[in-house]
Structure formats: structure tokens, C-alpha cells
Amino acid sequence: MGLKMVVTVKQVPDTHNLSGDAMKPDGTVNRNALPAIFNPEDLNALEEALKIKETIGGTVTAISMGPPKAKDVLKECLYRGADEVILVSDKLFAGADTLATSYALKCAIEKVGGFDLILCGRQAIDGDTAQVGPQIAEKLKINQLTCVSEIVEIDERSVCVKRSVENGYEIVRSRFPVLLTITAGANEPRSPSAKRVMAYKNVDSVVCETAYDETWFNPQSCNNVSRIREWNTQTIDADPALCGLSGSPTKVKKIENVVLTAGEVKQIPNTDAGIAGLIHELIEEHILG
């Protein structure tokens, strides 16, 4: 039968190309000013799932919470080999912080049900919090292995991974179900498949008001995925009070524009005394130590 895997993916503004209007006055990201891309480490998570599918078999379900435009990243998942994709989208989700996001994703994952492995990117390049993955695991009350840079071994019941930790790595094993967060170093994500691009380029989402129906899901054939499932708060039985802005304790207090510019240049003589002076100065200014 193979493993049932869920991958969470996010569409993010491309923070490599920041412009002046990247932030709105209220401190949230101005998504319209930046090109939207597939969060890079989520692609690494998807790639790990697809590799596992190729080696020991299984199915890959990609879930994204976001506005309708997030369909683009779900299509990218289909292009690369995901078996089914689900867009969790509702106006009630707007303004969600990591807590509200992980709550919504947890509800959706529970609806999918029966999963062995959940794979998330370590963090998204817009918020850089690395919190959503761990929070989903906590809410689902399952194990979590974060910052995974390599899957060392995997079988039908457990996975053994290499985790990056400060100053090194550790190798740990967990039984299923378990949630992994994957780092960029884990792999080089594959390119889209030409056939799948041609097959799925026009798929659109279908709003599902009713509960999850397993009968439509047949991963054996790419013919059968002809749409993006769209779920809202009702479909996933989410409590509106815990979603979006109302479910988000995080409030932005203040934003500050930090512009890095070159300051004055100081020459340090290449002598013991010169270097000692520099170190002393850095300690004084709390840069070192």
C-alpha cells in the first residue's frame, strides 16, 4: 500500500527581489508588490515526499492554506508528481499568524486522515519563523523531527533522519506518524514533468462544501486528478474563532526599515596589538562575547 504522505506548501512573496513597497503601513507584507513564488524549502519537502514515493511507494497530498492565487503552487505540486492537492481557503483565514495557520492546517490534515508522514519546509521566506511545522505536530499530538537535512532510512513503520543542530547533526528515528521539517540542504528539487504540465496546466479548483470523500482519490492514474480540491472552514470543521486574525495572538507593534549602508572604513594594523584592540572594541560594543 505504501505510505500516506501530506506536504504543506505555501505561496510566498519573492523576498529576493525586495522593493520599497514590500511592506504595508500596518506592518503586514504587501503581497501585490512582489512576485509570488513557491516557498523554497516547501519544494524541498515535496521532493523528499516524492523520493519516498519512488523508493517505497505511497501517495503524496499537498495542502496549501492561502488565497485563491495559491492554486499556482498547488499546480506546481501536480507538475512534479503530487497525487492530490487541496487548497484551504476562506476569508476567515485572512490575517492568520503561525498559530492560526497551524490550526487550520491541522484541521485539514485531520480531514485527509490516515497519514503516516507530514513533511513541511523548515520555514517560509516571508516570515522566517519556522513555527508552523512544529505547531501542527503539537496540535496533532504526534512526533516531530525538525531541520531534517537527510532521510537516512525509511521503511513502512518508521523513519530515521539526520537533523541539523547547532555545531553538528544528530541522527534520530521515529515511528509513524511523524512530522518532518525539511531544510534546503536536503535535496535539489526536481523540475516539473513536461507531460504533467501539459495535462494539468488548465486545472481549476472545485469548492467542496461537504466532508472529505475518499472515493475520488485514485493515485494510480494522473488522469483522475483533474482538479484542485478547495476546502473552507466548514469543510474542515474549523472553529472560526481560532482562525485568521481572531485566532492570532501575534500583533505587529512596530516595523522599522533597516537600511544597511557602508560606514567609515577603519584600518587595523596587522599586529598583535592591533588585533587585540579590535577585539576589545568589538566586545565593548557587544558585537562579540
Binding site: E188, P192, S193, A194, V197, M198, C222
Partner: protein
Amino acid sequence: MSNFYRDNPDILFHLNNMDLSRVVALKEDDFADKDEFPYASQDLADALDNYHRVLEIIGEIAGDFIFPRAAEVDITGATFENGEVVYAKGTREALDRLKKAELMGFTLPRKYGGINMPKTLYSMAIEIISRADASLMNIFGLQEIADTIYHFGSQDQKDRFLPRFTSGEVMGSMALTEPDAGSDLQSVVLKAKQDENGQWRLNGVKRFITNGCAEISLVMARSEEGSTGGRGISLFIYEREPNMRIRRIEHKLGIHGSPTCEMQFNDAPAELMGQRKMGLVKYTMSLMNGARLGVAAQAVGIAEAAYREAMAYASSRVQFKKSIREYAAVYEMLTDMKVHIEGTRSLLYETSKIVDIKEGLEQRMLLHPETQNDLNGDLKRYGKYAALFTPMIKAYASEMANRCCYDALQVHGGVGYTCEFDIERLYRDARITNIYEGTTQLQVVAAIGGVIAGVVSERLNEYESENDFSTVSDLIETARELRTRLESAVSHVKEKKDAAFQEYHARRLVEAATDTITGYLLCRDALISDRKKKVAMAFLSKAKHRVSAKLNYVLSDDCGIMEFHGNIIN
């Protein structure tokens, strides 16, 4: 992050402006696959959109994945270890990536697992990949082998072999050349004999075989004992087993990632493909024509890479307080490179389209025999054009790529001669393109017949009648002037009825003909874009003098070298 398709507006220009409606209709057999395969094109617009998307994928793989590995592939190269060929790491990774992206059955029909792209798109794809790493094209571009099985193999052979090619499980090679049969393939001696069970067995040596280590090879062998000419030769499908041994691989000037093998067959079992005795005269000629188009595309890719290297270097290098690209000596080189790349690209895609139409007509007549009478004339015409344009573009593109690399290295000055810059690799890689799949000199032999027979004029008449050139009247006047000069030189040669004279001047005539056709094609491009007007102008103003010089020499009747070369090179 770079996409070698998206960052190349000239390829996009052609894909957006070429009229591919007939190519698509023929290739898609009027969209017969549309309800059977989820990835089949639904209509013309959908097909064009698919073409664009497929090139996007190729462009991304080329820019982000293949290009960063090219220098390392060149340094390591394919190696020969314990009797087996080992690809460079980057080559293996790139092939795996192309395979996963389902691009290995590029031109093959969907029912065999292919993505049914026309040759025009294949040329674009090869160009894009070669710009990243020319040596990879030698393996990616070997899809011709599967294509040949598709065109000439039995149904059973197609069913057995083609899905394995399209899935990327197997790669191919074409084993034609032998130590004493290079350009002269009629002297092939590798023996094919049937044993008592009727099983064909191969004995002998093939040399200079690109990717001879592949799982499947098409082997040209002498099946008719005692025969000597081309009619005694058949083509065989050979699948790797222990009776064929790779003896060595060549150490070459360039394309290090592509293994060039010497194959020793000792009673190796093989199966006949197509009809006996048709190996050279029919199948190999078809196979080689496909491969020649591929090499032309490879050459354009290398030239594009060289131009970009030169341009980047010239823009950043400052001497005498200004960037060197501001000096006439440098900007003229850069402009010439660019103009010739664009001219060659126009001719490359035009040739590819002609081949697409020719092959499409053949397929249509096969699938719908009732169309034979209507289409026969068209097929003849396109067959004639393909036979002329293919060797023409192979010669033109490969010579152009060499000139481009030469000048691009020159723009770099001393550092271009070091291994620190990519241009030295491109310079080495380009050098094979005017040699393999038939040298330029042989392409001239293949093309001269069509030039003398007036096929060029026939095609130019079509350009004249299909386009209204009045908005580019100055340009088209120059192109017509080239044509007039060419036609008078051709009749001059014809009137002489002297085969040796024609042979002596063949290259000059073919080059003048290629310049003339390219001039017309650039005029056609100029109808669409103002920038292309300038490109056409830059091309034609120089072509006029180049062509005149060559043809004046032909008209002068001088053939001194023909007569007394023996006194000089004695």
C-alpha cells in the same frame, strides 16, 4: 536562477511569429490524441502553449542545472574504467533530470510514451541545452535513434523498443563509422551473418561512435557477403550484451562529456531493422539528416553561449578608460556574431519546419492513404527542400559557430586563452560541429545538386509570393540582387557542363546560396520587427560583398589550383 529559454528573446520571437499551423496539424494528425491522453494538445492554440511550456522546462533545466555543471563535466569528462564507460557526474545528473521531466521521448508519438513535439521544437530544445553544455546534446540529441526505429522499424520493434527510450530506461547510439569507412560509408566492412537459427550476428569494429556504450545501438553492417557498394549494407538494432566490448574511448579536443567509443563486435546478436540492403541508402541517410539538423542546433547553442560570454566580458572590461565594447574593432565583432547567430537561427527553424512538413506529410499519407494523390506533389517539393536545406544549415551553422567562438575568444584577449573563462571550452566544443555527421565539405557535396538544379530559386519564389516585402523594399532589393548574382553564376557553371569545374566551385556556390536564403529569411523577420530590420540590414550589407567576391571568382573561370595544385603541394 536563469532560464535559457526565457532569457532568449530571439527564440521567443520565432516561436511567436512562425506560422506553425501546418506543422501542428500534421504532427497532431488533426488532434487525434486529444481524448486519449490527458497531456495531448486540444487545438492549435493549446499546442503552441504546450510548446512554450515545454521550452520553459528545458530552459530552466539548462540554466539552473546543466550550465552550472558544464565546466566540471568538461574537466572530468566521460572516462573508461574496467572496460566500461562512465559518464561524468554532471552528465548523469543532467540525464536523470531530463528523464524525470519526461523529455526523453521528445518527438515520439504519445502512444509510445513520447510528447510528440515537432522537429522545430526539438531544434529549439537542442539549442537551449547546447548553450548550457554542448556535450550533453550528444546524448540528449541521440533521440534520433528512436525516431529512426519509429519510422522504419516493424510494429513489434516499435512496441518493444520505443517505450524504453521514452521512459529514459535506455539510450541510443548510431554505429556507422569504421576505421576505414568515415565519410565513405559505402566501404563499411563490419559483417552481419545469419547463423543456423536465422539469428543475425555481427563481427567487426566500429570507431568514433558517440555514446557507443548505450544500451541500444543502430549498427550499419554488410549483410550481403561479397558485396562492395552501398547496396550490400543493412541496418541492425543491437542491444548491449557481453559479445560487444568497448575497446577504448577517444581523448578529444572538446565535448568531453560525450564518450566516443570504439566497439568490437564478436558474434554479437542483433536484429534486422527494416528491409535488407536498404541500410545505407535509405535508413542511414534519414538518420543522418536528422542528426545533421541536431548538430546545426547544437552549433547555434554554442555560438549563443560564446556571444554572451564575449558580450559580458567586453561590457565589463575597461581599457583606456572606457569599456572595450565601445571600440569599433570590438563592437563590430560582437555585432557580426549576433547578426549571424540570428540569421542562422532563422535558417535553422526554417529548415526544421520544412523537415516537419515533409515528415508530417509522409505520416499523413501513411495514416490516411486516401490523401496520397492530393499530397504527393507537396511531399515531393518538401522532400527536395529538406534535402537541400539540411546540409546547408549543418554547414552554415557549424562554420558560423566556429567563427563566433574564434571572435568571442579574441574579444577576451589573453584571459580567453586561459581556463578561467568558459570561452576556451566553447571554442573547443564548437570545433567538432563542422566535422561530425559529415564535414562541411561533405555537406557541400550533398547541397550542390539542389543549388545547381534551381531548388533555391523555387523556394525563394515562394517567399516572394507569400510575403509582401514592400515595407522593407531596400532590404529586399539587396536580397534580390544576391539572388540574381547567384542565378547567373549557377547558369554559368551549368553551361560549362564540366563536373570538375562544378566540384571546384561547389563550396562557393553553396555558401552564396545559403547567404541568399538567409538574407530572404531576415527580410521576412524584418516585416515583423524594427529591430530585425537592422539585423537584416547589417547582414545584407556585408553579405552583398561577400557573395559578390565569391561569385566573381566563379565567373572569372579561374581554376588554376585545380590544374596545378600538384606543382605546389607536391
